[in-house]
Amino acid sequence: MSAWPAWTVVIPLVGAFASWLVGRKSAFVAIASALATVGVTVVLALEVHARGTVLHRVGGWGAPLGIELRVDGPAALLLVVLGIVTALTSASAVAHFPMGRRRSTFITLWLIAWAGLNALLVSADLFNLYVALELITLTSVGLISLGPSRESIRAALQYLLVAILGSLGYLLGVALVYGECATLDVALAGERLARGTVSSAAFALVAAGLSLKSGLFPLHAWLPSAYANAPSPAAALLSGVLGKAAFVVLYRITGETFPLVLDAAPAQIVGVQAGAAIVWCSLLALRQRRLKMLIAYSSLAQIGYMFLAIPIGTPLARAGALYIAISHAAASAAIFTATGALERASGNDSIDALPGVAQRNPLTFFSLAIGGVNLMGLPPTGGFIAKWLLVRAALESGQWWWAVVVLVGGLIAAAYVFRVLREAFVPAVPLPATADAPQLAEVVSLLLAAVSLLLGVSPSWPLSLAMQSLGEGP
């Protein structure tokens, strides 16, 4: 038994309370706890890499009575990468919010959200996952509501109402699972669940709730305005990290609780939704005039790629979905941070306004471009690795149509990404000398883009973690 899983939750939580108590000067506390949290997750990942799944019994009780924290390879990978992205993104918040109440509220909410995220990643208990999901939902809503306009509040409200509706479905599914097998432990429930109506219905409810929370097609229309109207650091956190929470839960329980249901009809329905999300949301992204809306829709399409792991179902596909999750986390955080910086410089995030600002801030635009290449799934970014794994998995499992969907999605992504990138080459009236992006945000977005590149250039370590629980690791 290792203490590290609990530490990944305790440290950001203590940091959140400390920053809350310190008040205005919370930035130092934030930096310290961010460094400590990332450090702990790295140590944990190394331990998982060396020794396999790490277990912690909270309170010493153990399943089924108590709650167990179990960190397998995928969870460790997500802990590290999402942790790094979270830490980097929040650094840009310092540039975004002037010192004051909004900044300290952001910091506290961000640390709580991080604690919730880590709790979600390490937890092996169905109900604890629900509580962690709700924690993430509420902090996400808080982060969105810090936005500048009335639209932010409207978006936050909409986000909250849809998210709790999604949790409702999940919770009902959990009730069924508990009723059927008298345990809330994900793996134990998986052992006790037989193939049948109850398990299929429970999966359908859980999947419906979680896909609603993720904004999977066709119930996606509520999400883009949340991303587009949140403050940029919050948008980066949401689309990069927190928006993946529901998927991560589904990923975990499809692997451990519902492996039997995967070849049944509900999984194929999820697949159709995912495919439609990839194509339709990409097409919608193509039509947007605002950069943030475009990225928001593209995030929805990327969510679709992740959900493809469920119908394809092979270890390779699951690794691919996981890889989409981590590389998109870095890429979309990079893009949102860069967009926020450019928006600062130009006053709005309209695509038409890009030419001037892109030429004044080439490095910021450069990170935007790398993020864009990641969205297209082209090398040398992590997006390519993910796409490769998914396409190969689809072909190997004989379900070649999913490969076609993935490739078509990549084509449309290229269309909307280059619609943005080409603006950098349009000669424009030079902007006034003040139109520079905040330097901190520039550095942060470059670092995030570097993470995405690193994932694309050196995927073997992350992949060995991603495939560890599936018996292909060292």
Binding site: F17, V58, P64, I67, S145
Partner: protein, 313 residues
Amino acid sequence: MTFDWLLDATVAAALPLVAWTVARSVALSRAIVLFIAFGLLSALAWTRLGAIDVALVEASVGAGLSGALVMSALSWANLDEATVARRSVIARAFVAAAIALCLGAVLLGVPDPSEGLLGDVSANLGDAGVHQPITAVLMSYRGYDTLFELVVLISAALTIGAAKSARLEARPGSDLLRALADALLPLCIVLSAYFLWRGSNAPGGAFQGGAVLAGGVLVSTLAERLRRPRLTVWWIRAALVLGPASFLLVGMPRFVEGAPFLEYGPQSASRAIFAIELGSLVTIALVLASFFPGVGPLETAPDASSERTRGHR
């Protein structure tokens, strides 16, 4: 026996009916009143099902607090917007019926009888440090959940407080209210302490106690018997996070020594749990009170309206 059955059947049938009426009410005020009625009805259902704790919390927090919150929405909600789509009633009824049938069929398909985790819970009560099974689950077996639940409460309060809290539109401030508050606050404190103490071996605990205390704080603040605490004061902020902080503080020493997180040790378990419940009670009371606009402790700037009412008085 038949009476029991009849009562159960009535309650069970009434619940979906009330739910339907809430959704179908044209006037928002009517929907809200029915919503509170639904809460009380479900509290009744839960007592029937032997879930006294749940019924208590539902009556105080669920129906009571939520009901009051929603009720306060009447004062500012734009009632003109309250529209109910009339045309699709049949379609909706049909869809709802279909879903209800499927859900019901699945729910009734679970094994019966089933002991659940009853046996495990009872067998480990000795080590848990409390005699009341639900308190044992909440504070010991699944104390980790409770920790997060408190954090959820706090983050909601934080977001609500992040916007500058607006003043309450109609402030009563009458002598009657002040007299009531003077009598109520001590009563609430005593009552919540009682709930807390009782929690270790009978229904009751931090939540029920916290809800009661929140009510007292609420009335007193409304009556301006209690100063509005400010977030700029550090101990107010500390009090708000006392619940989860006490979880961490109590759990930390043994955790650092190498024991599992939130393992209190067999000897000190009951004391540890009591300390945590005490902290949680403070957090819950403060946070719940803060949910009410213009009342809670999350005022950062002196409010112009309080000066005005004071002058008026």
